[in-house]
């Protein structure tokens, strides 16, 4: 008889179990550990010890925190945010008011550590207050662009068909227009203010997010777990927001950090051109007013310029760090 015969093997196993020595039985019991309600899947036991309950998020955080560049970026951004929050306390006066002699170089007068500009305004106060507008515009514009872009992209990617065609056309219309020109036109039509600048930047930045989200949704829509969700009778909203979106988020999060940086740059560019809010100081407007004096008082453009460079750099470093942390191909440690 062939030994591959199942019945034969089973009877052998049964007899073995019946005649097993006590020491073997004791060893097996010890190995099994705590008894469960059901022993049909003893493979689960081995996993208990092998798999430490580290969630996706915790693992990503670990990878992110072990990346010195990302830590530096985060540190710098936290510093800028603290500065923005404390600026009204440190310099309660309007940073646009004249406080001293014009053209004081940095270090000349300890009351104005970073000097004064052509109208005698405190450069340090300007930079500190300027961080408020830069961050506000950067974060708000990104939030708005992200929300709208994700909505459009997920709708297009999830439903497909004519809805997709229509939304893709809409995205393409925005993407074919030169975005900065569109931004200038939008701000010029509306009165320049922090709000209109924010809205205008959001208007030109959402198509990128929409494209990305749509691509992610189209890929994830075909995954088996989405099929499973549909087979269980879940509604569209639940599938979009609970099943697909969390899986589509990593690249969107990475993009958003770069979007904040881009928005800060755009705001600066607008202010530089004199299209910013005239009633508040921003890094861009400081460069704008200082640009004619670049040869005589270069610090007036260099200092707010450095503020922009470091903030944008910090955001990009965070973006890279997030990319490494959220991309499972890199975060899988052996």
């Amino acid at each position: 008889m062939s030994t591959t015969d199942v019945g034969n093997f089973r009877s052998l196993v049964a007899e073995r179990e019946a005649t097993a020595e006590p020491e073997a039985a004791a060893a097996t019991a010890a190995a099994n550990g705590p008894a469960w309600s059901n022993m049909k899947a003893p493979d689960a036991r081995s996993q208990q010890s092998a798999a430490v309950a580290v969630t996706n998020g915790r693992r990503a955080l670990k990878v992110f925190l072990s990346n010195p560049n990302a830590l530096f970026g985060t540190g710098f951004l936290v510093f800028v945010i603290l500065v923005a929050l404390t600026a009204p306390i440190l310099y309660p006066d309007d940073p646009l008011s004249m406080v001293g002699r014009p053209f004081l170089w940095p270090g000349q007068n300890s009351a104005y550590p970073l000097g004064t500009d052509s109208l005698g305004r405190d450069v340090l106060a300007g930079i500190l207050h300027g961080s408020r507008i830069s961050l506000f515009v950067g974060l708000m514009a990104t939030a708005l662009g992200l929300t709208f872009g994700v909505l459009v992209g997920s709708t297009a990617g999830y439903f497909g068909g004519w809805i997709d065609d229509l939304l893709v056309r809409l995205i393409e219309i925005f993407q074919t227009l030169p975005s900065f020109v569109l931004l200038v036109v939008l701000v010029a039509i509306a009165q320049p203010s922090a709000t209109t600048v924010t809205l205008a930047i959001a208007v030109i930045s959402w198509p990128t997010v929409a494209r990305l989200t749509r691509a992610e949704f189209r890929a994830i829509r075909e995954k088996d777990f989405v099929m499973a969700a549909r087979s269980l009778g879940y509604g569209h909203a639940r599938i979009i927001f609970r099943e697909i979106l969390p899986n589509a988020l990593p690249p969107i999060i990475v993009t958003s950090s770069v979007m904040v940086a881009t928005a800060i740059l755009m705001e600066s560019a607008l202010s530089f051109m004199g299209l910013g809010d005239p009633n508040v100081v921003s890094w861009g407007s400081m460069i704008g007013t200082g640009r004619e004096l670049v040869r005589t008082a270069w610090y007036l453009t260099a200092l707010p310029g450095l503020a922009i460079v470091f903030t944008v750099l910090a955001l990009n470093l965070i973006g890279d760090g997030l990319n490494d942390a959220l991309n499972p191909r890199f975060s899988q440690d052996r």
Binding site: T3, T4, D5, V6, V13, R16, A24, A27, D43, R45
Partner: protein, 332 residues
């Protein structure tokens, strides 16, 4: 005569794991050796070690791989590159991803010939057509200019084989060559490999999880579990009289086409648990799942013993079911 390939006590180590431990086997010229195991058994890493293509984190911690009198673990990158594709070739599981999608298949075959045999473009193309004919691709003159996506899965695997045998290697490593293919195509591809083996006098290392494939296409079988060789035998012996509890369990657990065993007759015999339980196991890696385990199994890794000619088994408590008809006699 020395065997074509001899692997001695091969141990592959990752920073935190040892996926292959103390593995030894040899293969004669023109022979097909099957390495069987499930995922996590270390069989694919072994194949990569033979090619010296291990992932960066993996290191050969111990052992030698002797091929044609040379120790592959001691060769430098240039010498190994010279050997790869020319004397040792490999085919992979996924014919879809192992071909370059933007290159015609003729050029991909020609590339190997240009690198190793310094053929000119025209000569390489002619040899490519010849090779496509050798792997039984119909109308090779036309197919040579096709891109991989224009071919079916079976055809792509034939192209992979054509590339692998282009320089008439002495050893061909086939890592799950038919797992992605349907049964009817699988039979065609394995037959082709077998014919080429005889025509080109190659030795073949056939890595698979499919016991049926082993039975029909291998001269010698190595069964691996959790990085260790647990049994070695001729295929006939292995199927008629498996010795290691793992091999026995596998054969008992697999439904067989020619056996009249239906679910109404009873449940399938299970091997409880999964291969993950071998992680960190001090003694026999199969102990946590073994129905014959006893306390001494956890003390040290069992040595390979020779229970009969041409056989090896890594279990001190196993006895041939054939030789001992009474199962009770097994519990020594």
């Amino acid at each position: 005569m020395a065997p074509l390939l001899q692997v001695d006590n091969l141990t592959i180590r990752f920073p935190r794991a040892e996926p292959v431990g103390n593995l030894s086997f040899e293969i004669e010229q023109g022979e097909t050796l099957a390495i069987v195991g499930e995922s996590g058994s270390g069989k694919s890493l072994t194949a990569l070690a033979l090619m010296q293509l291990l992932p960066r984190a993996a290191k050969i911690a111990n052992g030698h791989i002797t091929f044609g009198g040379r120790d592959l673990t001691k060769l430098d990158a240039r010498e190994m590159r010279h050997l790869r594709g020319r004397e040792i070739a490999m085919i992979f599981q996924e014919p879809m991803t192992s071909l370059n999608p933007v290159m015609t298949i003729g050029r991909q075959i020609g590339e190997v010939l240009k690198v190793h045999e310094k053929l000119s473009g025209k000569a390489a193309r002619e040899r490519a057509i010849e090779l496509l004919r050798l792997v039984r691709i119909p109308a090779p003159e036309k197919r040579v200019d096709d891109y991989p996506h224009q071919l079916s899965g079976g055809m792509r695997q034939r192209v992979m084989i054509a590339i692998a045998v282009a320089c008439k290697p002495k050893l061909l490593i086939a890592d799950e060559p038919t797992t992605a293919l349907d049964v009817t195509i699988q039979a065609q591809v394995l037959d082709l490999l077998d014919t080429l083996r005889r025509e080109l006098q190659m030795a073949v290392v056939l890595i698979t999880h499919d016991l049926g494939v082993v039975a029909q296409w291998a001269d010698k079988v190595v069964v691996m579990y959790a990085g260790r060789k647990v049994e070695q035998a001729l295929p006939g012996d292995l199927f008629n009289d498996p010795l290691h509890p793992y091999t026995r369990g596998l054969l008992a657990a697999s439904p067989r086409l020619k056996h009249d065993f239906h679910y109404r007759d009873g449940a399938l015999t299970e091997i409880p648990g999964s291969i993950v339980s071998a992680v960190g196991e001090a003694g026999c890696p199969f102990r946590p799942r073994c129905n014959q385990a006893r306390a001494s199994c956890s003390h040290h890794v069992p040595q390979l013993i020779v229970p009969a000619a041409d056989r090896l088994v890594a279990c001190p408590f196993t006895t041939s079911l054939k030789a001992v008809p009474h199962a009770a006699a097994l519990s020594l």
